[in-house]
């Protein structure tokens, strides 16, 4: 054997470590058959949202600038708030992402076993963490910062500065997230850490959503709420949080836009990022090995709960195969902290939704109020439908994908693919109904809508829930991701986007079709005549909506079943 072992001088560089990931992404994109269509659709949808965000921010900033004296203050406050929100999102997503990039990723064994400097591993994993956790915030920041540039007529230097500000702003929370993960993994086993992080993350997110909504920030934008203009300006002038990078980032950009660039916050942002990077690498060198070793100790014994008698009783009339499928679905869901914990956020969102409806300023006059209340109650159908569609995207859309690795069992067993679909369909539909019905019935009662609207919207919501579950399950099977271990990333796929577009089109169809009978009902009331259910618009609209619902349920399910039957696993 040749004794020429390479000296320590052989060091794999950062790029060498990043190349496989980059190459994998490129290869995957290249081998994707419908990539042109996908890219075009994604580009179109992305551009649409960018334009929308840009337009809204641009309009707001123009309005602010028109306000004498406090325009710049308001713009700065908005930018500070936006960066603060970004920072919170980034810290949370970095903690969760860092756990998988630094400790759970499958390629780690190879990297850890290779003779690579710990600092290089740290830098490579940090770059990966930043990309994975920050892309969405970066995409959101583009139209926001562009709107500021446009309103303040800033030159190209502003856009360079924006980029220069964004880089350290993304690095700091990534280092923090990686550091926090390193600490947690050294204390708790990796799996327990993942559960813990999922819970902490969701409680924090739920808390932030609830707080943000219940304090009604829109009131802060109305000077009349303050006792004097001086108080209002004082609040605007006070920095949101002097010690946070969000403040430094917004201050650096705003000072440039105002024409008096302040180097200090910009330099401070870079110095902090650099210092964080050095400390992070130092901590990595000292504690990563111990943490990684602990993360491998996965055999923590955990007992499954005994059989649920209630569940057994509820399902006693079903076929054994259906019974075991349903029971398996429920058990697996409630034992996975990363899954059931999403229900907390869901509960908060529903509460916020109903709260938003209660604070709508609808009571301006009796006749107008009746019309408005009923129109709002009816349109609420579309909005509540959208909420249900989003929930179905998170919980129902991945239902077939998560069976990917277990298809060996499903396919070799004598049960039909249809049984699998129907089990998943009912397991998805019933909980969605539990969310959807309070959204509709609750808001109708809060708004004191008429009985006709209450009955119509409630029945329609039942149909909508059935259809949305069918759409989510069907599209999930048509555009599956059978390989992923992370359920949360399945709905953010191309298929998830197509599903949401289909769901929104379906909801628009329902609102348009049922708008007909609602219009007939309201105009009859307005003219003082009792509306009857037998009129042509009533029947045609309701029948059309029912037909659309049946088709939206049946067609995607049928297509999904055929796709699963034809796929090789």
């Amino acid at each position: 054997m040749d004794a020429a072992v390479p000296p320590v001088a052989h060091r794999a560089g950062l790029l060498r470590l990043l190349r496989p990931k980059l190459r994998t992404k490129l290869n995957r994109a290249r081998s994707d058959e419908g990539r042109v269509f996908k890219a075009a659709l994604l580009g179109f949808v992305g551009l649409f949202f960018w334009t929308l965000i840009f337009a809204v921010i641009f309009r707001m900033l123009l309005y602010f600038r028109g306000t004498q004296g406090i325009g710049d203050l308001l713009s700065a406050k908005l930018l500070g708030l936006a960066f603060l929100t970004f920072l919170m999102i980034l810290v949370l997503s970095n903690v969760i992402t860092a756990l998988s990039t630094f400790f759970l990723s499958e390629d780690l064994e190879l990297v850890v076993a290779a003779p690579v400097e710990p600092e290089t591993v740290y830098a490579a994993r940090l770059v990966e963490t930043i990309v994975d956790s920050s892309w969405m915030v970066t995409l959101l920041a583009v139209p926001l910062l562009a709107a500021y540039g446009a309103v303040y007529a800033a030159g190209p230097l502003y856009y360079l500065l924006a980029l220069g500000t964004l880089i350290p702003f993304l690095v700091i929370p990534a280092v923090l997230g990686a550091g926090l993960t390193l600490l947690l993994v050294n204390v708790f086993p990796a799996r327990r850490t993942r559960d813990l992080l999922a819970l902490v993350g969701l409680f924090t997110a739920a808390g932030v959503v609830a707080l943000f909504r219940f304090v009604r920030p829109e009131r802060l934008m109305s000077p009349e709420e303050f006792s004097s203009l001086v108080d209002f300006v004082a609040v605007l002038r006070a920095p949101t949080s002097t010690w946070l990078p969000s403040e430094w980032a917004s201050e650096a950009l705003m000072s440039f836009l105002r024409g008096s660039f302040d180097w200090f916050p910009f330099a401070f942002l870079w110095c902090t990022a650099a210092m964080f990077g050095v400390v992070g690498a130092w901590l990595h060198r000292g504690y990563f090995d111990a943490g990684f070793t602990r993360a491998q100790e996965g055999a923590e014994r955990k007992e499954g709960r005994r059989r649920s008698l209630i569940l057994d009783r509820l399902l006693r009339r079903a076929l054994p195969s259906t019974r075991v499928m349903v029971s398996k679905e429920i058990r697996v869901f409630f034992r996975d902290t990363t899954q059931w914990s999403q229900l907390i956020l869901l509960g908060v969102l529903v509460a916020v939704y109903v709260y938003n409806i209660t604070v709508l300023p609808l009571y301006t006059g009796e006749q107008v109020s009746f019309l408005l209340i009923n129109v709002v109650s009816f349109l609420n159908l579309g909005l509540a439908g959208f909420v249900v569609a989003a929930i179905a995207a998170r919980f129902v859309f991945p239902a077939m994908s998560i069976e990917g690795r277990m298809m060996w069992l499903m396919r070799s067993s004598p049960i039909d693919v249809r049984t699998i679909f129907w089990s998943k369909y009912w397991v998805g539909t019933l909980p969605l109904l539990l969310v959807a019905m309070p959204l509709i019935v609750g808001t109708n009662i809060v708004l004191d809508a008429s009985l006709f609207i209450l009955v119509l919207t409630s029945l329609t919501m039942v149909g909508i829930t059935f259809a949305l579950t069918g759409l989510a399950l069907g599209f999930g099977a048509l555009y599956p991701n059978y390989d992923t271990e992370n359920v949360a990333e399945i709905p953010t796929s191309f298929g998830g986007l197509l599903y949401m577009m289909a769901a929104v089109s379906y909801l628009a169809g329902i609102v348009i079709l049922e708008g007909w009978p609602v219009y007939a009902f309201l105009s009859a009331r307005f003219e003082g005549v009792e509306a009857t259910a037998g009129t042509t618009p009533m029947l045609a609209g309701i029948a059309g909506a029912a037909l659309l619902t049946v088709l939206a349920t049946w067609l995607p399910l049928r297509a999904g079943i055929r796709k699963v039957q034809s796929v090789d696993f």
Partner: protein
């Protein structure tokens, strides 16, 4: 022939009424007729014909990428052939999938399981998919877990099981619904010596009771000792088929062991070149 020793008495042996007799004794237990499988333009399996008789342990061997796992998965009903027929007990898997699959227990090569179910819950789940439930199933779960020394882990979530324990749960899941045919891909991977021995004895007893085993393996000693007949597949085609004696005569290999026959029929003469290359590379 493998000695059964003490493990034999601890098998979850079936009562006379439950013993495998087959729905229709006139047919072979497994029959592959001109089975082809294409992945795009690549032909993984190019027209395989074979029949596995009832009560037989049939070994399916081949080099990496020869089409073994694809054939095994088609036999288990997991993959659909591009053309040709797979019949289990005379029933076409494509035309009467439920009847055909109800006779099969499949053990894949990679132990993917539901991590959030306990071992007992997983076995109950699998039994339910085959329409079995009740006291009989519970008793069988206990006997199988006992046999594989997993009784203590019965109510632990699978996520905390080791690779070998998962493999044992997989094997138990293929037996829980009392199949007539066991289709198994690389059964010995991840098993400790005791469990490997147990599995060999279990297959032998299963076959002695009328059951059929169709197994693929790279462990040629196991195949030689355990299988009644063996087929060797290379580049998607069966290149040798028969009992050990028949294979020796087909390969003109005298009293050679299976390893030599295997290397000979799959182009193993080139091994000396490979070894020379290896010497240079190390």
């Amino acid at each position: 022939m493998i000695e059964s020793q003490s493990t034999e008495s601890s098998f979850p042996t079936l009562p006379e009424s439950e013993k495998v007799s087959g729905a229709d004794g006139a047919h072979d237990m497994l029959e592959l007729r001109a089975v082809r499988k294409l992945y795009g333009s690549f032909a993984a399996v190019k027209g395989v014909d074979l029949a596995v008789h009832r009560g037989e342990i049939f070994g399916f061997l081949g080099p990496n990428g020869a089409g073994k796992t694809t054939t095994i998965r088609m036999a288990a009903g997991v993959l659909r052939p591009t053309s040709g027929q797979v019949l289990v007990g005379g029933d076409d898997v494509a035309r009467a999938p439920e009847r055909a699959k109800s006779r099969v227990g499949y053990i894949p090569d990679r132990p993917f399981l539901y991590e959030k179910l306990s071992g007992a819950e997983f076995l109950r789940f699998v039994a339910g998919l085959w329409g079995r439930e009740g006291e009989g199933v519970e008793g069988r779960i206990d006997r199988l877990l006992d046999l594989f020394q997993l009784a203590e882990w019965k109510d632990e979530l699978i996520e905390s099981y080791s690779h070998g324990m998962r493999q044992k749960i997989l094997i138990s899941s293929a037996l829980i619904h009392q199949p007539e045919l066991i289709v198994v891909d690389e059964p010995m991977v991840g098993l400790d010596p005791r469990s490997a021995r147990l599995l060999k004895d279990l297959f032998r007893t299963f076959a002695d009771q009328g059951g059929t085993v169709f197994l693929s393996t790279h462990t040629l000693e196991v195949a030689e000792a355990l299988c009644d007949r063996i087929a060797i597949i290379n580049e998607g085609e069966i290149i040798a088929l028969g009992s050990m004696d028949e294979l020796r005569s087909q390969a003109h290999a005298g009293s050679a062991h299976l390893e030599e026959i295997f290397l000979k029929v799959t182009g193993g003469e080139a091994m000396s070149d490979v070894i020379a290359g290896l010497r240079e590379a190390i």
